[in-house]
């Protein structure tokens, strides 16, 4: 198993043969796809495609479980925002008025469109985080000729996040060893405890800053150095023909999407069979 940003992945996954630059390009471009799609079923297809990618990459789908509460809370907020908090619009078609609050079909439709845009965007991020290793981000940045000091800062941040989590665990254990426990306590109590955790957490990080700096300087690091770095990390990743093909497919897919949307009016609300069907059902139900 190899550690990725969001968990572990089996050694046999094909994703290790994909150049890190392709993964970053995938994140940046495919995250944009849903923004140009209003027809819900197409974004649903994109969701299925992303799940398919997760499966063939041998990512445990348990990872998605972490995001189910987030997806539900976002869905609820979007739905409430568009329906209950959506205001009064006499020009829209009412599908029902629970507790006297008019619920419009157009608002439900818009909520669905927005929600089905958000889900693939989240999944693209999940795919990226669960199939990418920390060093691959550095490799992708270095391949893009981003200055070493920037890529190194990002890499160190990721490392620091792991350390902070570890420090947090240690501080919490130390607090618990002295009889503090937040289990079953009120929210204000938990917040007070959280403040108490933050002070040692910051203090530890300050100490680490000094140690880290010494370690870097002792190993000859200077961000003003004129020495040309050989970028060893890039020698560990080769950009092969399939990487070029993947980039081409991603970019061509995006270009095709834009052309279909703005040249031929595809992927629009009017183009959605599902929304047509749902609107018909809800409105006919309301009329009955």
């Amino acid at each position: 198993m190899k550690k990725t940003l969001l968990g572990y992945m089996p050694d046999e996954s094909f994703i290790y043969h994909v150049h890190p630059s392709v993964k970053v390009l995938f994140l940046l471009v495919v995250s944009l796809f849903p923004m140009f799609i209003s027809a819900v079923e197409w974004n649903a297809a994109l969701i299925l495609f992303l799940i398919f990618l997760l499966v063939v990459s041998r990512v445990s789908l348990r990872i998605i479980k972490i995001y189910i509460p987030v997806a539900i809370s976002m869905g609820t907020i979007i739905l409430l925002s568009y329906t209950v908090l959506g205001g009064r619009h006499p020009e829209f078609s009412i599908v029902g008025s629970p507790l006297g609050v008019p619920i419009y079909w157009e608002r439900i439709r818009d909520a669905l469109v927005v929600y089905f845009r958000i889900l693939p965007m989240i999944l693209t991020m999940v795919f990226f985080l669960s199939t990418t290793r920390e060093r691959e981000i550095v490799a992708a940045f270095r391949a893009a000729r981003i200055p070493f000091v920037v890529t190194y800062m990002i890499a160190m941040s990721m490392r620091a996040a792991g350390m902070v989590l570890e420090d947090f665990r240690i501080v919490r254990q130390a607090e618990q060893a002295r009889g503090f426990d937040t289990k079953g306590k009120s929210l204000p109590y938990k917040i007070r405890k959280y403040v108490a955790y933050m002070i040692p957490l910051f203090a530890l990080s300050l100490r680490r800053a000094e140690e880290f700096t010494n370690a870097l300087v002792a190993r000859g690091y200077s961000f003003r150095s004129n020495v040309k770095r050989p970028d060893y990390i890039l020698s560990r990743y080769r950009f092969r023909w399939w990487d070029a093909l993947a980039c081409l497919v991603i970019m061509a897919g995006f270009a095709a999407l834009l052309a279909a949307r703005y040249g031929y009016g595809k992927f629009t609300l009017e183009d959605s069979i599902f929304l047509d069907w749902l609107g018909g059902r809800l409105l006919s139900g309301a009329a009955a």
């Binding site: 994140l27 979007i78 205001g87 490392r159």
Partner: protein
Amino acid sequence: MSETNKEDSVWTVLEGERRSVGVIHIVITALLIGIGFVVGAFGSISFPLGFGVNFFWTGIAVQQIGPIWFGGWGIIAGVIFPFFSNAIAGTPFYVSLAYIPANFVQAFLPAFAMKKLNCDPRLKKGRDYLVLFVAMVVSSAFGAIYSPLVVLKGFGLLTVESLPLFMWGWFGGNVVAGVVFNFVLLKALSGVVIKTPAFVKKWWS
């Protein structure tokens, strides 16, 4: 503000004092991003309103204290870490990207006010508390107006009618968490931080 006060100020570079940007500033930026990532994600996951907006955002402590202690390095961290903490909490990539101006103002303004008005980060006088509090309120108000209005509405994630909920959520989530954390942390740790080579008197060293 009297001149005598200014000479005593922690922000004043003493005659003959050598200060320069060092590796430690790069390191401290990275560490702040790391801490912000963890505590910010904690806030985003524990108290979510949605799309990275929380009704108690713990990340504000790192975002506003970092720049007070470490100047521009803290601001860089304060702008970058929400991007990571939001990502892990399920906020889409481009929504996080669009939050950058709000995060910049929230990080920059309290540090700017403390430096400009010659306030001591050790919070020695009532005035130091007041300036920091006002700066926290104003910067969070900017974030609260900008983000839901420009970002969430711009992305079509919310209706106009539901914006106040998100604006108050953002504002309250930041100010309440800021009040809870910022004063305590500054009071407890500024004395130590000032003595370290990482402390920044101007903006970069």
